[in-house]
Amino acid sequence: MLRAENISKSFVKNNKEFLALNNISFQLDNAEIYGLIGLNGAGKTTLLRLLSGIYNCTSGFISYEDIDIRAFNMANPYQISYLSSDTQVYQRLTIREYLSFFAKIKELPKMVFEERLKEYSSKLKLTQELNTLLEHTSTGTRQKAAFISAIINHPKYLFLDEPFANIDILMVDEMINTINALRDHGTSVIISSHNLYEIETIADKVIYLENGQIKLNSSIQELHKESEGQRLRDIILCKMKEAN
């Protein structure tokens, strides 16, 4: 279980303090998928970076299974996995080398790695390209490789920043299946995306961020109930227009 309590994050840009996240609290239960939506600059990436420990909070507290994030990482290494939005991977490695690098760092046994590599590469249609240098592959392939590198050790917490950008519909479907399978194994996932159809298909709950604050945090089912079957896109659009 992930719990964020009153977290704030501010940056100094051009000698001015700028509040990216303002007093955010929420809770992510085990084996749940959260959709994170918001306009550009709303603070989605900052929130994911805070949750994965890349940034430190200016104030507030993040805990995993009721222990502090650092202590959690010490006790359960590599259980928090984060996929950055514009990851351009290591261009001069082949896909196999790229994935094996992450497997090695995550201390995944070799047998398990080979097994999962086979599984995921066939699912995401990468088998043909496993020995191609990443610089010679398409953007979509790189995105898929980065995605596999994030899930290869079946982490308990998975944060995906714009995972579906640049990927064709068939592959998005395959990725959604993979994420769902992971969830069934107990992984909690947060996906940030601008594509509300995908969020609607996959997420259990949705958080809508606006100017560093949570404007909406509820389960998709409830939303549907409240709005009498309106699509998520319409609900959010309505909210945005209200704010403007």
Binding site: Y55, Y82, L83
Partner: protein, 610 residues
């Protein structure tokens, strides 16, 4: 922990060796360049002449009582030159004679052979007989291998070794290799956002940093080993050095260079960690490379000598060890202190920085033009190396011939070629219009005041630090004043202005950004190799470049340069001393300050009116 570090290093090195540009810049360029240098190295040393030239370095305080100098002066088989600077260009002389006065006021004479000269042994015999014949009572002659001097062994002398001839070469190639790697694997990871992924794995960031550092260091060490191998192969093929000496010297060079590489890798790690894009890292590294190369090449030509202070200066101590090929316990300790401590300090800074959020900041639209702007700096560096290495080859010619050759081959011709090669259609713009009478008067007038002010300052500086004054103490090398005006004023004014201003400063020209003025002034100072007059030359460089920037006219700068040099010639020719007078000096400095102040005021006013 070790597994993580090793995995990251492995991955980084994998990436680097698959990068064609890294391999070319680190391996093929040295492979082409080093054999060329080794081949030309013997030509750098003495050009054979009929005279037997002996350099005398007299380091005594009381110079009255050595009678054998009088004896050898009378020996018309020898051409004696007294040199009162530090020991430089020893290989231009057949023999060097050094007279020391040690702590107990005992005098010592040391003779240093030049193995690349065939006259060295003759000179040695003549002089040692003079020393023995003259009845020196208070003098201890220190000619240890008097009887063992053997021409077959001369190959083993330091002067014929390419290591001592080019002590900077490994550091420079080591730098270029390591810099490429550092910007790729540190700034590159930042720019491509893969560093973020590494951070998200919750690996200890110090481990990431150590891995990156070690990868840079390993590659630079590999680069060094490869260069050394190429050097060894070319030396063996061209038979310029016996094998045993080659092994010995390679070993000393390795020990001297490795600590320098440790520090260099640290500096490069810091630069590329701080940079927000690969391009930013590369441009900062290029500037650093330029300063670094000027430092090591300059120090290898100036021959600082091994004092405790110079041995504590990182990189310079490497150069000293390679040049002298002397390596002992004190050397080793000083070398370690001078490199390990700064490295640890830099690493600590990196450790602090990598924990901050700012480490992930990147520039989305890197300014690619910056690298292009750096390019002339690299050209400058290349010309500088050539200038330092080859400007001495006309030493035996007359002063006029030498000056014209140096000016034409290092400044005039390169400048014209470089300007012609420029793609900008306005490249000849500053040549097209002639200056107005008013502009010429301003140029001449302010140059005169500037000359007085600068030389007043310089005379005070020289007196304070006991430096010989270039104006009064150096007699003119040319007989007639008209000849001097052409050779020392007109020629340099034309060629140096073309090179430093019309090519170099013009490249950086920007209406609103006048940094080019300062950069060109610094380069102008570096080429003059006269570090006592650093400040004066710097001010002159600024003034000439300012004329170009302000009036967009190269002829004005040439006029100013000519006027300045003409003053120098006239003052030395007529032995004038008026510029030393406090009254004239202080008035001219006041005038300079007032002119600059009012000029600024006028400019502000016009800006306000606009």
């Amino acid at each position: 922990m070790f597994n993580t570090i090793i995995s990251i290093i492995q991955k980084d090195l994998f990436e680097i060796f698959r990068n064609k540009r890294a391999v070319i810049s680190a391996l093929f360029l040295p492979a082409l360049f080093i054999p060329f240098l080794v081949y030309f190295q013997p030509f750098l040393s003495l050009t054979e002449s009929q005279d037997i030239r002996v350099a005398v370095y007299d380091y005594r305080i009381d110079k009255s009582d050595v009678n054998f100098i009088e004896t050898i002066k009378k020996d018309d088989r020898l051409k004696i030159e007294f040199i009162d600077t530090d020991r430089i260009n020893e290989n231009k002389f057949d023999l060097s004679l050094i007279i020391h006065q040690n702590d107990y006021r005992k005098k010592q004479v040391m003779l240093i052979y030049n193995s690349s000269s065939s006259h060295s042994q003759k000179a040695f015999e003549y002089i040692s007989s003079s020393i023995i014949n003259s009845e020196i009572t208070d003098m201890k002659t220190d000619i240890t291998d008097l009887g063992e001097f053997d021409t077959s062994n001369t190959q083993a002398e330091a002067a014929s070794s390419p290591f001592t001839a080019y002590p900077w070469i490994f550091l420079m190639f080591g730098f270029s290799g390591a810099a490429f790697v550092a910007s790729e694997i540190v700034s590159g990871e930042k720019e491509r956002h893969t560093l973020e992924t590494l951070f998200s794995l919750q690996i200890n960031r110090s481990h990431i940093l150590s891995a990156k550092y070690l990868a840079i260091l390993l590659f630079s060490m590999f680069n060094f080993a490869f260069n050394l191998l190429i050097m060894a192969i070319s030396v063996t093929m061209m038979k310029t050095m016996p094998l045993a000496q080659l092994f010995n010297e390679s070993f000393s060079v390795t020990i001297a260079v490795l600590p320098a590489l440790i520090l260099l890798s640290g500096i490069l790690l810091y630069i590329s960690l701080k940079a927000k894009s690969i391009h930013e890292a590369r441009s900062v590294e290029s500037v650093f490379f330029l300063v670094f190369s000027a430092l090591i090449i300059g120090s290898s030509f100036l021959s600082f000598g091994a004092t405790y202070l110079t041995q504590l200066l990182p990189f310079i101590n490497t150069i000293i060890i390679i040049q002298t090929m002397q390596f002992d316990a004190i050397n080793a300790i000083l070398l370690i202190i001078s490199t390990i401590i700064p490295t640890l300090f830099i690493f600590k800074r990196c450790q602090v920085f990598i924990l901050k959020d700012g480490v992930l900041d990147t520039v989305t639209n890197p300014d690619k033009g910056r690298l292009k702007k750096i390019f002339p700096l690299l050209i400058m560096l290349f010309v500088y190396v050539l200038f330092m290495s080859f400007s001495d080859i006309w030493t035996n010619e007359s002063y006029a011939y030498r000056t014209i050759m140096v000016q034409a081959s290092f400044f005039l011709i390169p400048a014209l070629v470089l300007i012609a090669l420029r793609k900008n259609p306005d490249r000849w713009q500053t040549f097209k219009s002639l200056p107005s009478i008013r502009q010429i008067l301003i140029s001449i007038g302010f140059t005169s005041i500037l000359f007085l002010g600068i030389n007043y300052y310089q005379s005070i500086f020289n007196e304070l630090f006991g430096v010989n004054n270039i104006l009064s103490d150096k007699s003119l090398p040319l007989q007639s004043i008209w000849q001097s005006m052409v050779i020392m004023c007109l020629v340099p004014a034309l060629s140096e202005e073309l090179f430093f201003r019309a090519y170099f400063a013009e490249h950086w020209f920007n209406k609103n950004d006048r940094r080019g003025i300062f950069i060109s002034a610094i380069v102008f100072v570096l080429f003059h190799q006269n570090y006592h007059e650093f400040f004066s030359l710097f001010i002159l460089g600024i003034w000439f470049a300012y004329l170009l920037y302000q009036y967009r006219n190269i002829w004005l700068a040439m006029v100013a340069h000519f006027v300045n040099n003409a003053f120098v010639v006239m003052i030395s020719y007529y032995q004038l001393e008026f510029y030393k007078k406090h009254f004239i000096g202080s008035i001219s400095i006041l005038l300079i300050v007032l002119t600059i102040y009012f000029r600024k005021k006028v400019k502000e006013n016009t800006l306000n009116q606009e």
